[in-house]
Amino acid sequence: MHKIGLIGNPNSGKSSVFNELTGLRHKVGNYPGVTVEISTGTFMVEGRKVAQLIDFPGAYSLHSNTSDEFLLTRALLDDRRPEHPQTLLYVADALLLEKQLLLLTQIIDLGFPVVVCLTNCDQLDPGEVEDRVELVREKLGVRVVPVSTKTGWNVGQLKLELQQIALGDHPLPRQAHSLSLPDPGIEAECQKAGFANAYLYFLWKHYGPRLDPGRIQEAYLHRESIRLQIEETMQRHAWIESWTEPLRQLKNRSHLLTARIDQWLSRPWIGVPLFVVAMFLVFQAIFSWATLPMDLIEGGFAGLQSLLGEWLPAGWATELLVKGVVPGLSGVMVFIPQIALLFFLIGWMEELGYMARVVYLFDHLLRKFGLNGRSLVGLISGGACAIPAILSTRSINNKRDRLVTMFVIPLIPCSARIPVYAALIGFVVPYREMGGIFNSQGMAFMALYTLGIAVALLTAAVIRFFVKSDDLSYLVLQLPDYRWPSLKNVLLVAFDKVRSFVAEAGVIILLISIVLWFLASFSWKGELQAAEQEVRERAKVEGQSEAWTDHHVESAKLERSFAGKIGRTIEPVFEPLGFDWKISIALITSFAAREVFIGTMSTIYSLGSSENEMLLRQKMEQELRPDGSPRYDRRTSASLILFYAFAMQCMSTFAVMWKETRTRRWPVIQFIYMGLLAYLASWLAFHLL
């Protein structure tokens, strides 16, 4: 299929054009060695697949200065890569045309057939649009299609052009605007080396060693490369300036408005508090507004579970469906409201141009911890749930900063820790009023939150030294003019993230959930039946009620299941932390999610899986050690709380990290790191308190 590369500066309106052309028919491309997202979409006309559209990350120049920009350079230079396009669609903002031509002149010089799409044309008079179209057409000899993705104006024409190109009806002339390259001998060398044109060879001499060292004889040394790069770019600017003078006169309304807003917003004492308010809203959204749909989803699946349990004939297939698959699906779907809401809000702020200001305001503070202004959104939303938070780091365009952010997000206390903390905190800190509005347990909660955040930041500050980065550490950030976000685009972003989460991480979550169900419900042949038999006989002798019997059967079965056996086996490992085999079992089952701890403990204490925390707490209070002292004393409870604070007791985090880093290495390292951290903290608490 014909491959069309979509190229443009950041903030050129490229993603809107991509969405217009592909609608929902796109996915994140999985290209070898590509860590940042490259979306590919299918361009269809009348139900027929016409071309593949590849949406490259926004770039200012082919002289790449960041690892992201290098993706584009590599794709265009190396024709053997799968993402090498045949035709390019260059998107430029009609309002900022004179500033977005540099890259265009470069790709034309590479010899690519190019169509230019001017966006934002609804902001200009028809006459002005026509002038711009003519100017670019005349100077650069390319086809120019003005559009407005906001009103949909002329999008049909753009589709028609692309269709004709893809089907080969209108082959585009291969133009070269013949810049005299700053390396005088390049023409002759190029012919000898067998490259299609001089500019292509010139760029190979810059980037060849990183692309395919075998293909070029001689590359520029670093200093020379930088000098030539500056010279070439300056020449292009001079040429562009020579004919764009008329465009510069135009007073752009959104630019003036931006200047007026940023006059105030750029001041830290205004910008920072405003961001705090904005983040508070985001946090509210994922922490409380998402609760209702989440409850509905969980309630719906719980209903489905009991219905299926009643309707279907008893047997292992029903058990698998009811206790393995349905809870797994529920565990995937329950994240959808949070992910959708978070991405809707982030997408909106990103489109508005606000996120660039956030990076500007917090760069200095977060750089100390090896993080980036955009990390803040992930860190803050990690306070609700690590899953959407880890996904949100996709907006961080520096590979290392993104990895570091993803690595520390699970250490931020999330909402799933609350039930565990709430069940145990009473054993550690007795309730006491403190100065009227505060109480001792509330303070302990806050201390736990502070500790989690502090450890996350410290971890970031340390691990950044271990994560390699090929990017030069510069800020140099363009702050785009504010523009009102397109609802359609933002909704598409949210939809896209939800879909990719369900399709990718969802599968892993489902599989782990089935494995955990298997471990908790099976054992060696006959063992579970024997356990049930024993309990029933004892119930008969003691004359116990039916509910008592059921709960004790459940407990006995869990104890003898594979999970129970593993719990007993690993008990010595957790002994130094004060945990017994019961807690060890709960540690295994609650890898599904931290809050499962409560359910498992209830089952073990024969309370049924009602998750009645009051009853559970009473049972735990009565639990004794072999020497007669209470099991849940201050030391053990504190140790357990800290274990849940730091250990990665969350299969979804594992799954999302796996999918987002595209390696098993990072989630495994993270799992081990968090596990060791948890062990250390718990050990210290158990022995020092």
Partner: protein, 71 residues
């Protein structure tokens, strides 16, 4: 208001030139670095954030405001 005279660090210069920031461009400091944070600049017709130490590599010369840009 200033005019950029030259950029002393070549690698930084290469990055800035790609963004359309080069000697001859006018530059106004909208917000100076606060406690070592980034600076907010208006360069020609665009807004940019640069770190304090990056701005230090730009050799600036004062120039008369011509009533355009952001005074």
């Amino acid at each position: 208001m200033y005019r950029i005279h030259s950029i002393s660090d070549p690698v930084l210069a290469a990055r800035l030139v790609s963004l359309g920031i080069y000697p001859g461009c006018t530059l106004t400091i909208i917000q100076e670095s606060f406690l070592g944070g980034a600076c907010y600049l208006a360069i020609e017709n665009g807004h940019y954030a640069l770190r304090e130490e990056e701005l230090a590599h730009l050799v600036l010369e004062p120039c008369e405001s011509q009533g355009e840009g952001h005074a």
